[in-house]
Symmetry: C2
Subunit: 354 residues, 2 copies
Amino acid sequence: MRAIIKTLIGASVLSLAAQGGALAQSELLEEARSYFKPIPHAVPTVKGNTITREKIDLGRKLFFDPRLSLSGLLSCNSCHNLGMGGDDNLETSIGHGWQKGPRNAPTVLNAVFNLAQFWDGRAEDLKEQAKGPVQAGVEMASTPERVEAVLNSMPGYTEQFARAFPGEDKATNFDNMAKAIEAYEATLITPASKFDLFLEGNENALNAQEKQGLQAFMDTGCAACHGGVNIGGEGYYPFGVVEKPGADVLPANDKGRFAVTQTAEEEYVFRASPLRNIELTAPYFHSGKVWDLKQAVAIMASSQLGAELTDEDIDAITAFLKTLTGEQPVVEYPILPVRTDSTPLPDPSVMTAH
Amino acid sequence: MRAIIKTLIGASVLSLAAQGGALAQSELLEEARSYFKPIPHAVPTVKGNTITREKIDLGRKLFFDPRLSLSGLLSCNSCHNLGMGGDDNLETSIGHGWQKGPRNAPTVLNAVFNLAQFWDGRAEDLKEQAKGPVQAGVEMASTPERVEAVLNSMPGYTEQFARAFPGEDKATNFDNMAKAIEAYEATLITPASKFDLFLEGNENALNAQEKQGLQAFMDTGCAACHGGVNIGGEGYYPFGVVEKPGADVLPANDKGRFAVTQTAEEEYVFRASPLRNIELTAPYFHSGKVWDLKQAVAIMASSQLGAELTDEDIDAITAFLKTLTGEQPVVEYPILPVRTDSTPLPDPSVMTAH
């Protein structure tokens, strides 16, 4: 009888302990929910651009079409590779004439959730962003006029533009190209990461180390800038709040958002990087100089927060960051419209790039 | 009564005429079948390389992986774009350091049916071919050693190589890379073109002009070199049998198969180009100098056969050639294995290219 009672007491103590554990986890989840939101499973709405099946289909073709570049080699996907986390995994991108781009290519995945586009936020949204690289001499080196000539030369495009933008007089134009690309990019979201499952209430989705990392991510202060749906991408902050990193990581000549606003206090200010799928998008920072995620975590902690993290914390935060890898978009590679005799010829020459 | 008889006679004459027409068409089909074969609907077998689902899946990843190139930018698909008829639609390809390739990129579609690979047939098969561009300094500029280091650094690859090549000791190697790519490329076939439907017995698949073109294609002598499954790709012939085209189309310094065999009579000898999907793969010839398919037809007729075709014949042959466009492969864009800390860094520098 005493043995039975002892067993009952033991079970009760165990049960209390388990309950205590469950409570502790719930606090973690509650705190996490105050900072972060899961990636939605449905395509989000986009301001000023109704997302339709026709626009998405057209945008997918445009996203993969190298004829939007002057050379005929480079497409959006060249630098925002959907098989590699939505960027090119290069320090900085390679553009027309093998030119080296000025900054590391940001991922296109979940970019629709960012407050603005580019490292310095100079494009309000994805349709404005899409017009940039197409024209940049160091990237695709085309012009709106050339792009419109290319697209209007192919019935395979003009028919699809007419369907995607019904009722418009000259539907096949540069602005609508950008809108269609934005519509496609709005579908490039990666839900159902381990962390999303956790946020949605499945507390077993993270293991002990990942939970420790999540706690450290919040306690250290990372979540103050890297929060919301995209765990970042929602505000601008100086790189080196506490201590400027070395010139290798933060080159002196790239003053970030200062170039956009011409405001002295915005020197070396950048948009906080969204950390979704961060495991897939090395190298890191706008300079693309850091390949090791742990090193990136350590640099951020010291430069932004004045924190010297222990190796254990760095490992835990890194483990947590790897839970941000979501389901990658399933992409059917598009069959592109056939050129016609009136399609402008590709021009790989470097002299004509502007 | 006489009216009825007259009607019956009339109907009978009409019926005979129709039968005559049917007979004429059947002769066309019979003659066509003596030259050409349809693209099979199933993946063909490949000598020395059993095609398995595991190899195909692995090969698809490798085909799209830019990390097989030194720069990290260029993949097989860069020059053999599956959305553009299996080539890059450029005069010659753009390679490492923006170098200009020596010859127009041949299509990868249906390449498994060619007697050998490259314009000069210097690779016996696709697995030998696949090793070429990866190493060519003017193309992907990597080395077998580097490729093996890249692939072995990623569990996402080593596990897949182990599955694709079971029982092999060091399965993740350069030879197996080539075999997997060959397996994937063997699936890149385009059946069910209008001409295939015709060859399979549906004589209505071609319209009157296309049939006229098919007849002219055989009568003029084109089919002597451009026959078989791939309507070409089955033999080597001098470019300019009758009359050498101008140096713009046939540059003097590219002596074709002579470089492979060192035989004087093989100067300016090339593999007869396979004409499947030719509508999708402008520009034409090994020099890539001709963008207009009609012009290419006229040049071939005069240089190879001494024939001055009428505009009507050129139009008809061109219409026939456009019936060779088959169903393009449905490709799910692959999610590539994630790099690790031991993955060699990409190197876009031109100095280190070899």
